[in-house]
């Protein structure tokens, strides 16, 4: 019963804290998205990602960092307490969320692996490795430039793309993809997919904000590493022209993953590059890397520091848990 109670409490706290944080994030996300527009792309991407994963990570942190130690330290091993219906329901919800996250992550991983194997079956190594990352040309008729993988990223360019880009345009496109690798964007995508909450789809607005900002940040990062903006823009034009042009339909008739018009990610990138080209805007080479990605680590350290210096907090937590049971 001790272990059932422990798992139930931890799972219930994940559900409670995660849901509460999601509601707060949901309420604040429109304002946050608007505010972020005034900040550099890298900072926007990092902030959007952090806020988006905040509910899930806070739920896990509180559950594993506070509830679990409080239970282990203060609950007698021979307890006869049984979880009541409400606790069981909350625990069921928490466990379902965690299992769904794990399932989505594994599914995404398996699909990625399948896709990679499919591409590798017709791959030809294109250029020497860049930053230890292999670059392949694949026999795929679509306009494809992608970087896949988390532990061992690989860049794939399809044959039509290789044949239509000049070497300097190819280098620019590859520099963009390498910027995604440096930013750990594939890992972030996996985490975003794993932590998607089915009932809070509006949080997807933050996913979109992150995707858009990460694309702009990758363009800027490529330029910072010496890629001329003309080559980047030229590569974007050629690759985009190889792709499908979807007709605009009345909004009520369709639902777009990427809404047409000004909201499309490509249009934002095109406008961004156009502005850089026309006005001769420079990407600040000394733009500081926002330490916002360290916030998660800082939060964990802070929680543990507080717990170590204030041991009574765990006792207080245990008392609260007793009320929950």
């Amino acid at each position: 019963m001790y272990y059932v109670l422990c798992v139930s409490l931890c799972a219930a706290v994940v559900a409670l804290v995660g849901t509460a944080c999601s509601v707060v994030v949901l309420a604040l996300s429109p304002l946050l998205t608007r505010l972020l527009r005034f900040y550099p792309a890298r900072l926007r991407a990092q902030a959007a990602f952090l806020v988006r994963v905040l509910p899930a990570s806070t739920g896990l942190l509180v559950s594993l960092g506070i509830v679990l130690p409080a239970f282990v330290l203060h609950e007698p091993a021979h307890t006869n307490e049984r979880p009541d219906f409400l606790l069981m329901a909350l625990a069921g919800l928490g466990l379902s969320l965690m299992l769904a996250s794990a399932y989505r992550a594994i599914r995404a991983w398996v699909r990625l692996d399948r896709l990679k194997r499919q591409w590798m079956s017709s791959a030809r190594k294109l250029t020497p490795d860049q930053k230890g990352i292999e670059i392949f040309e694949v026999a795929d008729p679509s306009a494809l430039i992608v970087v896949t993988g988390i532990l061992k990223p690989t860049v794939f360019l399809s044959r039509p793309v290789v044949s239509c880009l000049t070497p300097s345009e190819s280098s620019a496109a590859i520099a963009h993809e390498l910027a995604h690798v440096s930013a750990g964007d594939n890992l972030k995508q996996l985490l975003l997919q794993a932590t998607r909450l089915p009932l809070l789809d509006r949080l997807a607005g933050l996913d979109r904000e992150w995707r858009l900002a990460s694309e702009l940040a990758a363009d800027e990062s490529a330029m910072r590493s010496g890629t001329p903006v003309v080559e980047l823009a030229s590569a974007l034009i050629k690759v985009a022209r190889l792709r499908v042009v979807r007709p605009l339909l009345p909004e009520s008739a369709v639902s777009y993953f990427l809404p047409p018009g000004k909201d499309s990610m490509l249009s934002t990138r095109v406008e961004h590059l156009k502005r850089l080209l026309e006005k001769g805007d420079k990407v600040d080479p000394a733009a500081p890397v926002a330490p916002i990605h360290l916030l998660g680590v800082a939060l964990i350290v802070a929680v543990f520091s507080v717990l170590i210096t204030h041991p009574n907090l765990l006792l207080l937590t245990h008392t609260l848990l007793e009320k929950l049971v």
Binding site: Q193, A240, V245, L248, Y256, L258, L266, V270
Partner: protein, 148 residues
């Protein structure tokens, strides 16, 4: 044969998830059909017998696009390109069927999100107009660079 993704317009191609699907325009499909039928054809051959009558440059551009998409091969004879199919009709159909299955497996429940980063994801008509503007700026910039 290595698994290939073929461009085709599908009934749900305007819905969420369509960005990963490549599709062919009506003219592209018609020209592909024409090349399958004749085995090999030049732009001039198609220009003379294609109905409705279309501009020579339109046909040339569309055939070039099909070549770049890997669906046609071409050889230069004199000053003209002769186009022939790079994939058979059955391979094409197989690719389409596979793509339909892939689509249903992959995007049946959720919008298309994969753990990979694409250089370009989806393109709309509005994007196309913006691309024209960007191209104008790029050309002007290149001219300035050459002059300078």
């Amino acid at each position: 044969m290595a698994a290939m993704r073929f461009p085709i317009r599908l009934p749900w191609s305007e819905r969420a998830g369509a960005s990963k699907l490549q599709h062919l325009g009506e003219l592209e499909l018609a020209l592909l059909e024409r090349v399958w039928k004749s085995g090999e054809a030049s732009v001039r051959d198609i220009y003379h017998d294609h109905t409705p009558h279309l501009a020579y440059t339109t046909l040339m551009t569309t055939l070039d696009r099909l070549y770049k998409k890997g669906l046609l091969k071409r050889r230069l004879q004199g000053r003209a390109f002769y186009y022939s199919p790079a994939v058979s009709r059955s391979e094409f159909s197989e690719g389409v069927a596979r793509q339909v299955v892939d689509f249903m497996l992959e995007f049946g429940e959720h919008p298309p999100t994969g753990i990979f980063s694409c250089f370009v994801d989806a393109v709309t008509e509005n994007d196309s107009r913006l691309l024209d503007e960007l191209e104008r700026v790029v050309k002007s910039k290149r001219r300035n660079q050459q002059a300078g």
